[in-house]
Symmetry: C2
Subunit: 368 residues, 2 copies
DNA sequence: TCCTCTTATGGAAACGTTTCCATAACACAG
DNA sequence: CTGTGTTATGGAAACGTTTCCATAAGAGGA
């Protein structure tokens, strides 16, 4: 047995079997236009017997609409993006649209090629998260054609067609809270700091808060995407900046992993050091201590982005709107008063025997 | 300004601008067949000037291949499925295929309608996770047409074209380990026990282990998809089955949430009660105590499923193969010796003041 | 009886490709 | 000079729809 040995039935086959013209068959199957009762029956029977199913590719060619929305995100397995994709899919499905999904792996080249492919597939709308809003060939390409589109997670003041949180404002809030708890020396630990505009904006917000509230400029640790030897990097960083009493992690996964490492190193959170995350994933509420973080709602952002492109599509007008998503700072057990005199140094100076941890950041990369 | 005010250029436009026939333009742009150097240049210039991009819908119509693979999963935001989707996408992208993704929300009707739509879109292959392998209209529909396809996560002995772990065997192993640690009365806590074949199979495996190793039949708690009042349900369950010393949760998220609730109820894990999860998500390693669980590799399973359908596609033969994915039981701090005499009862009988927890299981459902 | 109006039906064009085939130009061997 | 290739090119069909238009049949009014 081979595939496609029996060609799939077309409307022409149905018409032939029913002994009528194609136009009539189409009218019956689409319930458009008048048909006699007997012809209707014959066509229905023929369609059933042949297992006829319309070909959307024929329809799309004719109608020049594919009923498809394209989406490019850096990673599907990252829970923040997958929640957003779920939001996009839910809204799309409600409107009878299918989701054509690509992941770019945080690579601008793959971003561009994904966008080209999606445009070649003639998606009706496009939602994308680019690495850097201000330097994205993919985004330029999209903008050069008049397709309903919307950025997701990429937000910048005054930038149109976007849907995301104000990372600077949110990170500023984090800095403000750290300051309120008496922290004077804070650190910022980020993944992909150089390439991701989100990680950058969060740093900028934190830095501004530090200036505003009289904190020292934050010490910065950019960790490896592969997550290799995060333990070593983290301990070295802390030894190098022993006055640090608070750490802002660029997202909750990093924050939780840091807490896990610190626990094994017998560093107490928040007594010895405070941790604040970003995103507000549910696991943050289930660890001990609970994670202080900025709570965002990626699912809602995905929905909003989908709503936005659908509005553009139906109004035939390129949206110039930016939907800035809300956020809430959620306090938690991981944020406490700054230690008057940090005892980190002594603790860390002791010889540690840490088992090499299985790193959450490897989860995607190690397997591909 | 309106969309589509300037129609997108077709190869006919390119040919016209270059002053040649369509066939020649096609030859140039596809590097197929012979063309003179000068004509090549003219065509290339015309294509660039017009911003020409091939339409895959025209191509698909002509070639009757869409270079697209369809995928239906219960939920995109569930980390297990999103990891698998990432695997599928990675493999597909390597082969120049795009991913058309739908989520069914664990609803057999939506499963079916998603599959119909994907088939109407003429996907070249189909990968799907159905709610119940043995009662799935969607699966029947797929099987009635000769399309390369593969089940993902749905596994049953002797069932063809599938890719998943042997849930019964894995759950049996969990039961074996619980028995080895001296547990005699265990509980099974599951989400969607009645509808999901995975949750059922895991129960069956556990039950068989209980029979085999002389344990009492497991007490069962099916928790609500909405996760409402999990605290109350859990505590009532434990009060009702006070001899229970070990709990097998149908997945790690449930397990971790249970651990979090127990911690707040001052029940010690594993001293008072042991917990075992399923899936092996990374967060299990970051909580305290670490979660004992069955480690699976959904990313690899996604890749395997994609490989399987691609093999069918290229060999033009419907695969009759089942790729049973491996699993590893990973011990962890949450699994310990059964308490000789459980002190659960006294603890739970005390009036508890638990803050109503934010439930991880709500994460998807509350927002849609 | 003839004309008009409605209802039912089918032919054919168009959507954007690819590819088969025919043609034209030209070189070269006989 | 004719016949035989080779190379470059374009016309046109086909893929599966939808829809415009024409036609045919019948009903009803003059």
């Amino acid at each position: 047995m081979q595939f496609r040995t029996r060609k799939v039935a077309t409307i022409r086959d149905v018409a032939q079997l029913a002994g009528c013209g194609i136009a009539s068959a189409s009218r019956v199957l689409n319930r458009s236009g008048p048909v006699s009762a007997e012809l209707r029956d014959k066509v229905m029977v023929a369609a059933r017997d042949l297992g006829f199913e319309f070909s959307d590719v024929g329809r799309s060619l004719r109608s020049s609409r594919t009923r498809t929305v394209g989406c490019v995100v850096p990673s599907i397995s990252n829970p923040v993006y997958s929640a957003a994709v779920q939001g996009i899919e839910d809204v799309s499905a409600d409107h009878g649209l299918q989701l054509l999904l690509s992941s770019s792996g945080y690579d601008p080249d793959r971003e561009l090629s994904a966008v080209r492919t999606l445009i070649a597939k003639r998606v009706d709308a496009l939602i994308l998260t680019v690495n850097d809003l201000h330097a994205s060939p993919a985004l330029d390409f999209v903008r050069s054609r008049d397709i309903p589109h919307c950025l997701l997670f990429n937000y910048d003041h005054g930038s149109p067609n976007a849907c995301g949180v104000d990372n600077r404002a949110a990170a500023f809030e984090v800095g403000r809270m750290l300051a309120a708890y008496g922290h004077r020396h804070v650190g910022y630990i980020a993944l992909r700091l150089t390439s991701s505009d989100r990680a950058c904006q969060r740093l900028e917000g934190l830095e501004e808060a530090c200036r505003n509230f009289g904190l020292a400029a934050p010490a910065i640790l950019e960790i490896d995407e592969r997550g290799e030897d995060l333990v070593g990097q983290l301990l070295a960083f802390l030894l190098q900046h022993p006055q640090t009493t608070g750490i802002f992690a660029s997202n909750d996964q990093v924050a939780i992993e840091i807490m896990s490492i610190l626990r094994k190193a017998r560093v107490r959170v928040p007594t010895d050091i405070s941790i604040v995350g970003f995103d507000g994933i549910d696991f943050g509420q289930m660890v001990e201590p609970t994670l202080a973080t900025v709570v965002t709602n990626p699912y809602a952002m995905g929905r909003a982005a989908a709503d936005m492109v659908l509005a553009q599509k139906s109004s035939d007008q390129p949206g110039c709107h930016t939907d800035v998503a809300g956020f809430v700072f959620r306090s938690g057990g991981s944020l406490g008063q700054a230690a008057a005199k940090t005892s980190l140094l002594e603790k860390l100076a002791l010889p540690q025997q840490l088992s090499p941890p299985r790193n959450i950041l490897q989860s995607t990369s190690e397997e591909r």
